[in-house]
Amino acid sequence: MAAAEKQAVTGAGPFNDLLTWIDQRFPLVETWRAHLSEYYAPKNFNFWYYFGSLALFVLVIQIVTGIFLTMNYKPDAAQAFASVEYIMREVPWGWWIRYMHSTGASFFFICVYLHMFRAMLYGSYRKPRELLWIFGMLIFFCLMAEAFFGYLLPWGQMSYWGAQVIVNLFDAIPVIGPDLAIWIRGDYVVSDATLNRFFAYHVIAVPLALLALVVAHLLALHEVGSNNPDGVEIKKAKDPKTGRPLDGIPFHPYYTVKDTFGVVAFLVVFSIVVFFAPEAGGYFLEANNFIPADPLKTPPHIAPVWYFTPYYSILRATTENFMWVLAAGVVAMAGLIIWSVKNTAARICVAALAVVLLAGFFTLDAKVWGVVLMGLSVMIFFFLPWLDQSPVNSIRYKGPITKTAIALFVIAFFVLGYLGTQAVTEERTLAAQIGTAVYFLFFFLMPWYSRMDKCRPEPERVTWK
């Protein structure tokens, strides 16, 4: 019945009949139109808009190279290290596939960080795109899990001790922590059991979740439509006859061509790294990981891979004397909230929460709070859509306070990232503590400074030269 009602496909030359046959049994034309040829994206996308499609492209690289790596890799503590060396030295093109995969991991984070920063610049997380942002954050979480599980697989010294440190973070959770850590490892120390299960997570469990979330992220994007560098809705100005946004252009062919150009430029940079500097000076592949895992000897200096170092710095910055700074911060925040909120119940809740936190700061170990702060430093991004109370979306129309705040946040992020790669000294710990304070103030004070800021009016339509 339905088959007869659909119109025949035209414009595909010799394939018209085949496509008509398919379209009458599967929503082919409808899907193509909804997501590509009639998905209208703002015409003023700039450089920052490359990184979403590039992240998708890197995901494809990771999946393809990953499949071929599993053909020779052995998830066994006795054989894993040697099997990676076997891939590097004896499997034809094995070195190339592995370097693509290891370089791809770092480039995945570069693309995702720039993609997230774009959203922060142009307010792409704001209403009605909150869920789109949350799906994106969940993708970021999966990506971090994927990177962490994957890093254990070569079974080098850094793999081993990195996993040891991160799994021990769970050990800090009061009451259930020690048993939870044993459950995660499947043993009392990181061992063969841990390697085997991390392999299962890395090659099947997390990638499945990741792919499902990517689909959800794209569906949510196509439901609400893309934001743009001006942060104004293109749906507000539509052609009265066709109902299409006046400032929108079809994703295909306009942005498929633009993104293809981006992929080519990306591949130039990517290939330079893969062929000439796959270790990237120890930032993409750490020297210590070329030594087989030794459970009895920690390497003299251990540091996570660069994409985790900002959070790692926050973890290390939380020492006993930093608890006083945290306590002062909590008191100040509670005061600020109680002063701004008029609702009595909310005031009581905030005061109670502050008291509980203060009691916790001085009864539980600083280590527990380090783990909490590290977790919070990633989780806090989830709340951006509600923390940002600015009347405008885009940085182009925001005022000097927001611009300064974002600049300070970026500096803090880089400083923390750098410190996370370095050994601890007193001065560096102090610098990391200042960085941590700036990092959190950026988020926690946002509801106030984004309201206070002197913003310029947004234009009615997107600007475009």
Partner: protein, 200 residues
Amino acid sequence: MSDPSKPNRARRNLLIASACAGGAAAVGTAVPFAASMLPSERAEALGAPVEADVSPLAPGEKMTVEWRGQPVWILRRTKEMLEGIKKADGKVADPRSERKKGELTPEYARNEFRSIKPEYLVVVGICTHLGCSPQDRLKAGPEAFESDWTGGFYCPCHGSLFDLAGRVYRNKPAPDNLRVPPYTYLSDTRILIGEDKKGA
């Protein structure tokens, strides 16, 4: 018979009941999966005690034996080292090993030197912060991390310091002293690690 515009209460209740039963079954099914991730019988069996012969140790030397996949250090301390421990009393967070007594320090090691015999220190060489293995900085003398260093261990991961009795310095990321495993002397030079006289 029944009004088609209103939900059939009996059917709706049956639906709710079967949904609850199905949900309970789904949760129940998750239990074996979660339990399969616990340490296997074999992993548990590998926790057997190990024996160490300390006769080759000269004063001031340290050896490492593996117990439950963890490094256990045995350090033969000199008189000067023991003096250094006394000097560090004021700098360490828990000089008398009073925190988490049962878990970290067996009763027979709950003294200033945290050992049965002051001469031999037996500790698990895993930092109580996040599980790195600290490095030897046994000699007293100024160090980059502590000008008045009396000898001990330095954790490269997050900078925690321990004295030669495995006691953690104050204001460092590690919350607790290094763990003293259960151990007992089989003879003057043979130590059994993982089991003490009570047979724990």
